[in-house]
């Protein structure tokens, strides 16, 4: 890359460089540039999409049923990449709803619908008349507040572009307008050259750039003339006439034409110290600063063989396409195509309710005869006409093979993303292959795959992090366990009595458990009862024994031998039966027989003794 000075030097020379490729489609411009810009009659309803630029949107400031004044801001713009939209007319907000968008997809987007009232009042304008003494930020803020975004094609917010952090040397006002049929910039330059140049001066002041180049294609002699006149005597302003070739109005191609430099892939012109603005945007800048007017109207070319009065009109933003066609005398043929934009890069209008937005430069209603549709796709014969036509020096037919094969890697190898979708390749293709459509599809697929990849990568990272965390926690736990186990082992080795203590504790615990189990045992009350019964029996037996002994002492001793074994068995049997009734698990109690039992045994013994005495005495 050459130094800044040489870039300036290069641009100051009266030299126009070349860019490779390009095509010369029939211009068809004289259809619409023969008359002055007309005003479009007002219509009943205006459909103002809240997003007409590249970037984001902010809050809507109005509600359904609200009355709005002309030029009133309808949306907020607090975020960096937002610009507001304004009411094109005074009226009532009748709906805020999705409406067909001015986009190739026609996908409905949130739109504020305003019904025009008879009483047209506008909010008071807040111009900055002495802009030359204002600082950059004030002017950039005003540009943002007035809703400015690029009017040439992409719709990039203007305040971002003029607020470049990088030093800007060159401001280029793009009046090339290389697409066939379109003349909106052409007529604007013819009629409002001074306003455009004033806008350029304001931009120059904001950007602090050293030179301003206005580039115009050589097929617009009237525009060149009037712009040259407007530039006279203004320091640092230069008109450059570039040869007519499509797509010389492309940002990258125009920079190459004017400087011989290429914007490196992945960079923006600001990296080279260049900012480019459409001449329409420059006009809007003048209106925004000096008149304090927001962007609510623009010049739109209505042209093509199927409208009887091709012309340029001042169209309020939000006007449906049908109104424009009606105004120009639309006479549709069978399978009529209507295109928003030019034939090379415009898109088909699928619904006539589609509104005019900030980037709408043309409504084209061509005849199938003048602008024949592409025929049936045939096999690629590798003729290479596409490569010859490509201004980016890509190899379109190779890209086409890879696109059909969905070979994303190869597509990126062959720099698919440097394709500007100008359509030159498809235009020259003898096999009528819709090349650009293939590239768009592939770009979308690759972007989608990248998004998917980002998503899955994130999920993968999350999963891996979770796994790692779980693993870490597990290890920490294991380490803790190990450490405490070791501690215990060490403690044991130090003090062997601890083992006994443990054993004792274990025994205690066992005993406790056993006691608990005993208490809960259902047989316990029965045992008590039986104990009582046994005691009674024993007493009875004692009493019997006593009575018998009395009887025996009073009677003859010969009968007593029969009674003695009886009493002995009774005495023997009783403890056994009682033992059986005791729960067997109660080993500790077995070891120490109860007092009750001892008594019984004593009784039995006494009975036996008594019987023996009786027997002796017998």
């Amino acid at each position: 890359m050459q130094s800044e000075l040489s870039l300036l030097e290069q641009i100051k020379q009266d030299k126009i460089w070349e860019f490779p490729g390009g095509i010369h489609p029939p211009e068809q411009k004289s259809l619409s540039n023969q008359t002055a810009i007309n005003d479009l009659p007002s219509c009943q309803r205006y459909y103002v999409p809240i997003k007409q630029h590249i970037g984001s949107t902010d809050d809507i400031l109005v509600n359904v049923g609200d009355d709005v004044l002309g030029n009133q801001a309808l949306t907020d713009a607090n975020l960096a990449m937002t610009v507001p939209v304004h009411a094109p007319v005074a009226g009532k907000v009748v709906a805020i709803e999705p409406h067909v968008s001015a986009h190739a997809s026609a996908k409905p987007e949130l739109t504020i619908v305003i019904e025009r009232s008879d009483n047209q009042k506008t909010i008071s304008a807040q111009p900055i008349k002495k802009w030359a003494s204002e600082d950059r930020l004030t002017l950039a803020t005003q540009i943002k507040k007035m809703g400015l975004s690029g009017m040439g094609g992409a719709g990039f917010p203007t305040h971002i572009k003029v607020n470049s952090a990088k030093p800007i040397d060159v401001l280029i006002l793009n009046g090339v307008e290389c697409e066939p049929y379109i003349t909106s910039d052409d007529v604007l330059m013819r009629e409002f050259a001074h306003d455009i140049i004033t806008g350029g001066q304001i931009l120059q002041h904001v950007l602090q750039s050293k030179i301003c180049v206005i580039a115009i294609e050589d097929n617009k002699p009237e525009a060149i003339e009037s712009i040259k006149k407007a530039c006279e005597g203004i320091e640092g302003f230069k008109v450059k006439v570039v040869p007519t070739k499509y797509p010389s109005g492309g940002e990258k191609q125009l920079i190459q034409l004017l400087t011989g430099e290429q914007v490196p892939s992945g960079s923006i012109p600001a990296d080279l110290g260049i900012v480019m603005q459409n001449v329409g945007t420059a006009y809007a800048v003048k209106e925004a600063i000096i008149d304090g007017l927001p962007l609510t109207k623009r010049v739109v070319t209505i042209t093509g063989d199927r409208v009887s009065a091709s012309q340029n009109v001042w169209a309020l933003l939000g006007t449906p396409v049908s109104e424009l066609l009606l105004h120009a005398g639309f006479n549709p043929e069978k399978d009529q195509r209507v295109i928003m934009g030019g034939p090379m890069m415009g898109f088909a209008v699928l619904d006539a309710a589609m509104p005019v937005i900030k980037t709408t430069n043309c409504i084209l209603a061509p005849s199938a005869y003048k602008l024949p549709e592409q025929g049936v796709e045939q096999a690629c014969i590798r003729c290479g006409l596409c490569a010859d036509a490509c201004p980016a020096e890509l190899l379109p037919q190779q890209l086409q093979w890879f696109s059909k094969a969905k070979d994303h890697e190869k597509l990126e190898d062959y720099n698919l993303f440097d394709c500007i979708e100008c359509g030159a390749c498809a235009y020259v293709c003898p096999s009528q292959i819709p090349l650009v459509q293939y590239y768009r599809t592939s770009k979308a697929e690759i972007r989608e795959a990248q998004q998917e990849k980002i998503k899955s990568d994130k999920a993968k990272v999350r999963f891996e992090q979770r796994q790692e965390r779980l693993e870490r926690e597990k290890e920490a736990r294991l380490a803790k366990h190990k450490a405490s186990a070791e501690k215990r082992a060490q403690a044991l080795q130090k003090d062997t009595s601890a083992k006994d203590k443990i054993a004792a504790a274990l025994a205690r615990a066992k005993a406790k458990k056993a006691a608990k189990a005993e208490e809960s045992n259902a047989s316990v009350p029965a045992t008590v009862e039986e104990d009582a019964a046994a005691a009674r029996k024993a007493k009875v037996a004692e009493a019997i024994a006593r009575a018998k002994a009395k009887k025996a002492s009073s009677q003859e001793s010969s009968q007593s031998t029969d009674a003695a074994p009886e009493a002995e068995t009774l005495a023997k049997e009783k403890p056994t039966s009682e033992n059986k009734e005791q729960p067997e698990s109660q080993s500790s109690e077995q070891a120490t027989p109860s007092a009750d039992e001892l008594r019984k045994q004593k009784i039995a013994a006494a009975i036996a003794k008594a019987k023996a005495k009786k027997a002796k005495s017998d």
């Binding site: 914007v263 490569a387 037919q397 009528q432």
Partner: protein
């Protein structure tokens, strides 16, 4: 009200379609073809009809087998062109089955089996020609001397009889028909030159033979001039690009000039190279076949130069008198490699590493 069919931009295309491209190439062969008929008799016309019919029939058969649209594909004119180019390359009095085999091979094997138009690696006409040349070398090198030198004059009926039966209406065979007025025979200019060199004749002595004209073969210089005219018209119409013909012709010219500097007595003169054999047909009609040629601008220069060099080498040292067909096929093989290394630098990638 509107066409509901979604179409991506651009809306509209330039006039020239593939069919038109093919048709224009066909038209451009007319001057050379007329010269060929004038000097070498009606045989070429019969070969032309025969080859085109076989080409269209073979293509139709394969298309129906492949379940592809027949009418539309035949309409692209590519099969017709292949048949035409082969007819112009085959000796006018070659037996009919030679043409049939060559064209059928070119269309069925070389073109359709590779996937049809756009997918063939080799130039179908040249691949067909080489198969014939290798399989039937005698019949394929049996070019008649130009008509004015012949002992037996040939009518259209004679040509038909010779091609389909091997004998003219008067019962002469092709070798008898080759006889000069003085009863001798001679080969084609390029063939004769090498043969005569081997017989220790010098270049200037050889060029005094009747079969040589001022700038090439007596007849073939005019035929080549015809193809040159047709080729220039194609260039002017934007059907072909200058790279390949210019690179090929200039390479032959330079190499032949250097060779004649080294040994003038043993070298076919440089200008004669251009106006003998298939040089012009090859440069403007064969090598420029976009399908099998290189697709990058630099690659086309390389591709053309490679063909030129190979033509010269084969003519100078090879076993075959002419080498255009072999040269084109060899260069076809190199195309993927050439294309890979000659990719242009994409906008914004200057100085960036690929």
């Amino acid at each position: 009200m509107f066409s509901s069919l979604f179409k991506s931009s651009p809306h509209g295309a330039m006039g020239m379609t593939t069919n038109q491209v093919m048709r224009m190439v066909c038209y451009a062969t007319i001057p050379g073809f007329l010269a060929q008929i004038y000097f070498f008799g009606w045989g070429s016309l019969i070969q032309l009809v025969l080859c085109i019919v076989v080409a269209l029939v073979s293509e139709a058969i394969i298309l129906s087998l492949r379940e592809k649209p027949i009418r539309r594909t035949l309409g692209d004119g590519s099969a017709l062109l292949t048949g035409l180019l082969l007819a112009l390359s085959i000796p006018p009095l070659a037996p009919w089955w030679i043409s049939v085999i060559g064209v059928a091979f070119a269309i069925i094997i070389v073109k359709q089996l590779y996937g049809g138009l756009g997918f063939n690696l080799f130039n179908p006409a040249m691949a067909g020609y080489v198969v014939l040349l290798i399989s039937f070398p005698v019949a394929m090198t049996n070019w008649q001397p130009i008509q004015p030198l012949l002992m037996h004059s040939m009518s259209l009926t004679d040509a038909v009889f010779v091609i389909f039966s091997g004998f003219s209406t008067e019962g002469y065979s092709t070798s008898q028909l080759k006889m000069f007025i003085d009863g001798t025979t001679m080969a084609t200019p390029l063939d004769q030159f090498n043969t005569s060199l081997a017989q220790q004749l010098t270049a200037s002595e050889i060029l005094d033979f009747d079969i040589y004209g001022e700038y090439g073969g007596m007849g073939s210089q005019w035929v080549n001039l015809g193809y040159l005219l047709g080729g220039l018209w194609l260039l002017r119409m934007g059907v072909i690009r200058w790279h390949i013909p210019v690179a090929m012709i200039s390479t032959i010219l330079v190499l032949a000039f250097l060779a004649s500097l080294a040994s003038p007595d043993k070298t076919y003169p440089a200008v004669h190279h251009l106006f003998t054999g298939a040089t012009m047909l090859g440069a403007f009609f064969i090598a420029t076949d976009p399908v099998s040629a290189s697709t990058t601008p630099k690659g086309r220069l390389l591709f053309g130069a490679l063909i030129g060099a190979l033509v010269f080498i084969i003519r100078q040292w090879g076993g075959y008198p002419d080498g255009v067909a072999f040269a084109v096929l060899l260069a076809n093989m190199c195309v993927p490699l050439i294309d890979h290394y000659t990719q242009p630098t994409v906008y914004g990638h200057k100085g960036m590493k690929k």
